[in-house]
């Protein structure tokens, strides 16, 4: 009985449910409201899955993202089958591909060889890696039993590198930039936004003008200008860090606006006045009384600004101004699919783009769901 009421708290049928609703902490209420937003819940699952995958990238990626296989360049994706041609159950497997050359154009063509069945094995020993650069290991989530046979579920790129492995390792860069960048813009946004909203007056006007100014510059040209100034020869990790800071230097305004708005509305609340009359210091009022009241809004706003970061990174790297090879990120991967000839030959190279769309949409839906859930006057 309690289960049904947890999912849908509004129609209060029994006393038990009523009791649960009255006793619920704000956090519980939020969680109940959030669970009603199906799309947001699905998005949360997608994001958890994506971040788990990239956290264990060395293990979940079947191959080393830099491993070049000359005899498997631009190989199309192999789909997983369960039954063979005669509908005999074989367990998960892929068909091997035969490589040949077109006699007239000399282009490499792959044909599916239905006699060659390569079963998919889980937890197989493959290429060695250092997990997070620390722990040595060689086990991979899946792969062919014979280490010399490769399975390319998403195909390979122009150099014969496994796209799935590159996608997973690239996700580690792109998705962490999203989170790190938001962290930095959150720091700037919340500091300036709360100062602006709390003090008002001239300080507020000055910060408002600064925000208006930043908003009025077209972001991509500005990012391009700043990113181009980073020397090519710098350490990739350092460049990664700087790009993240660059992205957040420009996109904190959205967060600051949200924070300022809620500060302005909270400033007039009775309990803030009460705290002030009781002699609480300004720092105490801001951090102990006002910030907790707006946490949920801030979380929603933060979630909604992650995609902005991810899109910024991919756009810059795609243009060749952000991260550069050998670093793998989704933008770097898409750089390969920049011209029409390559896309026509190997449309699967656009798959990192699909990954970007899925992640961006998930963050958007999750943010929408959180925002609705955080609104105490919502339905």
């Amino acid at each position: 009985m309690t289960d049904t009421t947890l999912i849908n708290p509004t129609p209060i049928e029994t006393n038990d449910a009523k009791e649960a609703l009255y006793r619920a902490t704000p956090r519980q209420l939020m969680w109940w409201r959030f669970r009603k937003h199906k799309l947001a819940v699905v998005s949360l699952c997608v994001l958890v899955f994506a971040y788990l995958t990239i956290a264990f990238a060395e293990f979940t990626a079947p191959y080393d993202p830099y491993e070049i296989t000359e005899m498997a360049t631009m190989q199309p994706p192999q789909s997983v089958h369960l039954f063979d041609e005669e509908w005999n159950f074989q367990g998960p497997f892929v068909y091997g591909l035969k490589r040949a050359r077109d006699l007239e154009t000399a282009a490499v063509i792959y044909t599916v060889d239905t006699d060659d069945i390569v079963p998919l094995h889980f937890f197989v020993a493959g290429s060695d890696y250092l997990f997070w650069g620390l722990i040595p290991g060689s086990f991979h989530l899946f792969g062919a039993e014979d280490p010399d046979t490769h399975i390319y579920l998403l195909g390979t790129d122009t150099l014969g590198r496994d796209l799935l492995s590159r996608l997973i390792h690239g996700g580690r860069t792109t998705l962490t930039i999203g989170i790190l960048g938001v962290f930095f813009s959150f720091l700037i946004g919340i500091t300036l936004g709360s100062i602006s909203g709390y003090y008002g007056g001239r300080i507020d006007a000055a910060i408002q003008r600064l925000m208006e100014f930043i908003r009025s510059i077209p972001t991509i040209p500005l990012w391009m200008g700043l990113a181009a100034a980073l020397p090519v020869e710098w350490d990739p990790l350092f460049v990664y860090f700087l790009i993240t800071i660059l992205l957040s230097l420009i996109s904190w305004t959205h967060l600051a606006r949200t924070v300022r708005g809620s500060f302005l509305s909270l400033r007039g609340e009775d309990y803030v006045l009460a705290a002030r009359l009781l002699g609480a210091s300004e720092k105490r009022i801001i951090t102990k009384h006002m910030l907790p009241a707006m946490t949920s809004y801030i979380i929603a706003a933060v979630t909604l600004s992650v995609p902005e970061m991810i899109l910024g990174e991919t756009a810059l790297s795609f243009l060749g101004l952000g991260l550069r090879p050998p670093v793998v990120s989704w933008g770097v991967l898409l750089q390969e699919a920049q011209n029409l000839r390559v896309i026509v030959q190997a449309p699967w190279l656009l798959l990192p783009g699909l990954a970007i769309v899925i992640i961006v949409l998930s963050f958007n839906f999750l943010g929408d769901g959180l925002r609705d859930a955080a609104d105490p006057y919502g339905r």
Partner: protein
């Protein structure tokens, strides 16, 4: 109204100055200066360069002066003589290179802005008046997907689809053979068969967001008593909807032109790189990669000035349409 206008105009002056400083900082950011780059270029071509000559170039261009003096020279050259400096890469004045491209960028941005409104307003109004209808869901899904697609990806996918389905190469502004020919009907058709791609790309991302805004605003307005009164007076649905709530719901729109413009220009820059259009994008990218900093800085400066002027216009429009704004 006049007071508001003066105040607003007055405010855009510090904005313009700040933008010019940012653009100048971008010019100065890369290590080395014009002289180092120029000498490196000469060495690259095999000339032997005297270190004294490098110093001479520096003195000649005033690069040995303090930074604020250089800024003053740069900005006064632009404001007083329309001189944006010299492009290192093309070895000609920046102003010869940029205006045609900026014009095309502006044309594409404004056309796609108009296109966005033309599509988004009727759809938003329809979605609100027929809430939860099948088409409303279709538009909502379109809106969600449009939100997730970055411009360059839409451009790539469109280019690929046009090639594989219609067997059309839509990159560039016109087909390869057309560039040298004089303007004719065939050339106009050819340009039209290319230009729709950037317009669709830019309009998609804008439309997706705007449909949601119009729909939400309209839903708020439709529940108000004055709408019911209008219906009770016996007005037709068309006259009620388009005559009253739409006009109110469009108010926030005008105020967002200012924000739509920066994102449109951003989008145009990156879309143009993918589609290889002769707008600012590819030239800016090339200038940045080759550290042709006066060219790059001028682009960034002018694009930002455009958006500031756009914001100014949208604020004035807003003041004209909404008395609450102009009374402050």
């Amino acid at each position: 109204m006049l007071a508001y206008l003066t105040k607003r105009l007055f405010w855009s002056i510090p904005m313009l100055i700040a933008v010019s400083i940012v653009a100048f900082i971008i010019i100065q950011l890369p290590p080395g200066d014009y002289a180092t780059a120029y000498v490196a270029e000469l060495r690259h071509q095999g000339d032997t360069v005297d270190p004294l000559m490098e110093q001479e170039i520096r003195v000649h261009f005033g690069l040995d002066k303090p930074i604020y003096v250089q800024y003053w020279w740069w900005i006064s050259g632009i404001v007083l003589h329309g001189d944006f400096g010299q492009s290192l890469d093309y070895n000609m004045p920046v102003s010869n290179l940029i205006w045609a491209r900026l014009g095309l960028t502006l044309a594409i941005s404004i056309t796609s802005l108009l296109l966005t409104w033309l599509i988004a307003i009727p759809i938003g109004v329809y979605s609100a008046t027929r809430q939860y209808s099948a088409l409303d869901y279709v538009f909502t899904i379109f809106g969600f997907i449009g939100r997730g697609f970055p411009e360059f990806l839409t451009a790539l996918v469109l280019m690929w689809l046009a090639y594989s389905w219609l067997n059309m190469d839509v990159g560039g502004l016109m087909s390869a053979g057309m560039e040298q020919q004089p303007w004719s009907f065939a050339k106009v058709i050819d340009v039209a068969s290319h230009i729709w791609v950037p317009l669709v790309v830019l309009a998609t991302s804008g439309t997706a967001g705007l449909i949601r805004v119009v729909r939400a605003n309209m839903l708020d307005e439709l529940n108000k008593p004055y709408v019911e009164t209008a219906y009770a007076q016996g007005l037709s649905e068309r006259r009620v909807v388009w005559g009253y709530p739409v006009r109110v719901a469009l108010n926030p729109f005008i105020s967002t032109i200012g924000w739509a413009l920066p994102s449109l220009i951003s989008g145009d820059v990156i879309t143009a790189v993918v589609l290889n259009l002769p707008t600012t994008g590819p030239l800016l990218l090339r200038a940045l990669k080759n550290q042709d900093m006066y060219l790059a800085g001028s682009f960034i400066l002018i694009l930002s000035v455009f958006t500031i002027i756009g914001t100014l216009i949208s604020d004035i429009l807003l003041a004209l349409s909404d008395p609450r704004v102009r009374r402050g």
